[in-house]
């Protein structure tokens, strides 16, 4: 039987990775809906209203799946990480508690108006509800990221008898890595949604469906991405500087730097060998390492050998996950800028090859998001609260057999249940936006998935 710690991490990693896809998509979609409704209110063009209704259905399904998968998370802190809960509950509990209250409040109030109130309340009130839902998703993210960041860069606490006590909540919440992590995550959510929108629009354009509305979506997405992708790269860079200051071992691992030295090269690709403490194969660019990490060629970069072996994160997963994230980021930048240039030249819709590439970019944001989370969370190992509490000391004393059994159950149930959910989302996209004079959303039920009423299977079957 494998190590219970590894199983507990696998289980938590699996369920939270599954979960995060939906809230991240919802965060982006909620703000995208604000933009669409605003454009509709300002211009009065029915195309925007039709798009609003279309993306509202996608949002409703994504939000619903996020709620269902999120329920599991509120228990797993106790089932899997009870010793962390006992030690850091004073701090993490209220932060997560605020997230619960925010989500609860949202679901009870503005979400119903947003999903089903279009024909019952005035346009202004409805727009307000949309804005509040979007704000609510951001506030939710705020609290979750505050909790997560605190575990990377704890602040505003004191330790008595092995238990963390808050001393200043402002310091707890606005801990050193929080502003970077929060900004990076929210932009990531926005870009994830943006590339879904762009990919869907490109698919419609290639198929000659909904040409006017698809063109609108594509233009908005290209403009947004061409500005925001570079911003994200800058924010990521700042986040990296912050991590180099507070969590140097993580940076050393994600760059596969073993030796501390100035004028460090940038390792493009490598096969890190932890036992030998070197890279068995590597492609490097001289000087670029110091330049990227310190913004100064002569500044020394910390290597993994500075840390005792038992305090280093696993190198290869962090190194590769980081490269996947950055690689996707660069691909996004290329797509966005080519799109922007072609848009400026008035040839965006004729650039067929770009339209053929964009649908392949639909999953890109999700993959980058997960890769980014793997980078930062595996990079924090072997600590759960960086430098203060090891993950091995946080895990519940639950037998490996129990964790292995439930892990298998989670994989089976999530595969079936959320597989159906994702299938339904792709089906909604295949059906596409309806004309505005089509019957309005069914108002039979004030619940998320009720807002989407396309059948689950094709009619011809």
């Amino acid at each position: 039987m494998p190590d219970p710690l590894l199983l507990a991490r696998l289980q938590f990693g699996f369920t939270i990775s599954f979960h995060i896809l939906f809230p991240a998509f919802s965060i982006g979609l909620a703000s995208w809906l604000v933009m669409l409704e605003l454009l509709w209110l300002v211009t009065g063009k029915p195309a925007y209203q039709s798009l609003y209704r279309f993306w509202l259905k996608i949002f409703a399904v994504s939000f619903g799946l996020g709620v269902v998968s999120g329920l599991v998370m509120s228990f797993e802190f106790g089932t899997n990480w009870s010793r962390l809960s006992a030690a850091a509950g004073n701090i993490l509990g209220p932060l997560l508690g605020y997230e619960v209250l925010t989500a609860f409040f949202l679901e009870a109030t503005f979400l119903g108006v947003m999903l089903f109130g279009a024909n019952r309340v005035g346009r202004g009130v409805h727009f307000f509800a949309t804005c509040m839902v979007a704000l609510g998703t951001l506030i939710s993210a705020f609290w979750i990221l505050a909790a997560s960041s605190w575990m990377h860069t704890p602040a505003g606490y004191e330790i008595r008898d092995g238990v963390f006590y808050p001393t200043r909540w402002v310091d707890v919440i606005f801990n050193p890595s929080f502003p970077y992590r929060f900004t990076h995550m929210v932009i990531a959510a926005y870009l994830t949604t943006c590339f879904v929108v762009a990919g869907v629009a490109a698919r419609y354009l290639l198929a000659g469906r909904f040409p006017r509305r698809a063109a609108l979506m594509l233009k908005l997405a290209v403009i947004f991405a061409s500005i925001v992708v570079p911003v994200q790269i800058l924010v990521g860079d700042q986040h990296g500087l912050n991590a180099e200051e507070h969590e140097p071992a993580k940076i050393a691992a994600l760059e596969a730097h073993w030796e501390s030295r100035p004028r460090a090269p940038f390792v493009v690709l490598a096969i890190p060998d932890e036992a030998e403490e070197r890279n068995t194969f590597e492609i490097t660019i001289p000087l670029l390492g110091s330049l990227l990490l310190k913004h100064n060629v002569d500044a020394p970069v910390t290597g993994l050998k500075e840390f005792p072996r038992d305090s280093r994160p696993p190198v290869a997963p962090v190194f590769y996950a980081f490269r996947i994230m950055v690689g996707i980021g660069l691909l996004m930048l290329a797509c966005a800028w080519v799109g922007a240039v072609q848009l400026k030249r008035g040839k965006l819709l004729e650039t067929r090859w770009l339209l053929r590439v964009l649908p392949w970019m639909i999953p890109s944001g999700f993959v980058a998001l997960l890769a980014g989370w793997c980078t930062t969370e595996i990079g924090r190992q072997p600590y759960v609260v960086y430098g203060l509490m090891r993950t091995a000391d946080a895990v519940s004393a639950v037998p490996a057999a129990s964790v292995a059994t439930t892990l298998a159950l989670f994989v089976a149930v999530y595969g079936g249940v959320f597989g159906a959910g994702i299938y339904y989302l792709s089906r909604l996209i295949r059906v596409g936006p309806l004309e505005v004079n089509a019957p309005p959303l069914s108002a039979r039920a004030a619940r998320p998935l009720g807002a989407a009423d396309e059948p689950l299977e094709d009619a011809r079957r």
Binding site: G64, L71, T79, G93, G97, F104, S396, R447, D453, P455
Partner: protein, 335 residues
């Protein structure tokens, strides 16, 4: 020796959230448990329609209960959840299944039967697992200091299985009386008959549990049967008997739709009160009083602000949405 008012307030808030969950998701799970027993397919549509507008809001009370326990009584959270690891995870999987099946059944054509099964079995599994959790909680945990050492299957006891069955039956009763209130015509008649059968089962199980619990721990026995406690506390079982009798009568009165559901909720409230009396003031039964498991004062104050703002609004909107969807379900949904 005791905690201050803030900790007590938090205990009440969390106990309230859990009770709200038990009541509100109880009748939704109950309709799920009864799902295959109703005669016609259109009855199933009616059942689903009757709970559709409210079910996911109901489930959120559970998140609040669990999140609140984590935030305000981290020590209790860190003992109880690993001790009941398997029943909790199985419950969550049941709820995930139930939740998603719920939504997809409405949209499914060819796969509808599969989602029907998923809905019913998700509900039964979740309810039974919750009953197991309840039973194991009441029995208490094998502890070494503040660490659970009772093994992976410590919760698997005859008492736990009985509370598991009792909760399935209890939720089914909530569900059937809910249908008495919400369903039209033949389904209502069916629900009235089902309520009577379920009521007998539930009362028998309540009686069995009530007799069993005082013998679990001496403290519980003393609490109920020492004088003068006995004079006051014996009102709880008496009230339970009266409620049961009234419930029996009202299920037979065709013109009264609401009382059975209200009385079933009262039955749950009495059971909850009975357990609270038995376990007070421990949050980890027979071991740790609630103030010893409490979070730091500043954590309690910090989160209280959020609760005071959001909880009244949530309660208001919950009440409002029940008001909007009040009365009988008039038509089933068809595509």
């Amino acid at each position: 020796m005791s905690g201050d008012w803030l900790t007590l307030l938090w205990l009440i808030v969390i106990a309230f959230a859990i009770f709200m969950y038990v009541l509100l998701d109880g009748f939704v799970l109950g309709t799920g448990i009864l799902f295959s027993f109703v005669p016609r397919d259109e009855d199933r549509d009616t059942m689903m329609t009757s709970v559709a507008p409210i079910w996911d809001g109901n489930e959120t009370w559970l998140v609040l209960g669990a999140g609140g326990l984590y935030a305000m009584f981290p020590l209790a959270y860190s003992i109880v959840l690993p001790a009941l690891y398997l029943p909790f995870i199985v419950m969550l999987l049941g709820l995930v299944f139930r939740g998603v099946a719920f939504e997809f059944r409405f949209k499914a054509r060819t796969s509808r039967k599969i989602w029907d099964r998923a809905f019913q079995w998700g509900s039964i599994v979740a309810a039974f697992a919750q009953g197991i959790v309840l039973g194991a909680f009441v029995q208490g945990f094998e502890l070494d200091g503040t660490r659970y050492v009772g093994g992976a299957l410590g919760w698997l006891t005859p008492f736990g299985v009985m509370t598991g069955v009792a909760l399935v039956a209890g939720y089914a009763l909530l569900g059937s009386t809910w249908l008495v209130m919400k369903a039209p015509g033949e389904l209502e008649d069916w629900a009235r008959r089902a309520s009577r059968v379920l009521l007998l089962v539930v009362l028998a199980l309540i009686a069995a549990i009530s007799i069993w619990v005082p013998f679990l721990e001496n403290v519980i026995y003393e609490r109920w049967f020492s004088l003068p406690n006995f004079y006051f506390l014996s009102q709880v079982p008496l009230a339970t008997v009266v409620t049961g009798l009234l419930l029996w009568r009202y299920t037979g009165r065709r013109k009264r739709h609401m009382p059975p559901f209200v009385l079933a909720m009262v039955l749950f409230a009495l059971g909850y009160a009975g357990l609270a009396i038995s376990l007070w003031p421990n949050i980890v039964p027979h071991a740790i009083p609630y103030w010893q498991a409490a979070a730091a004062r500043s954590s309690q104050e910090f989160l209280l602000v959020g609760v005071l703002i959001t909880l009244p609004a949530v309660l208001f909107y919950t009440g409002y949405s029940y008001y909007v969807f009040r009365g009988k379900v008039t038509r089933s949904i068809s595509y």
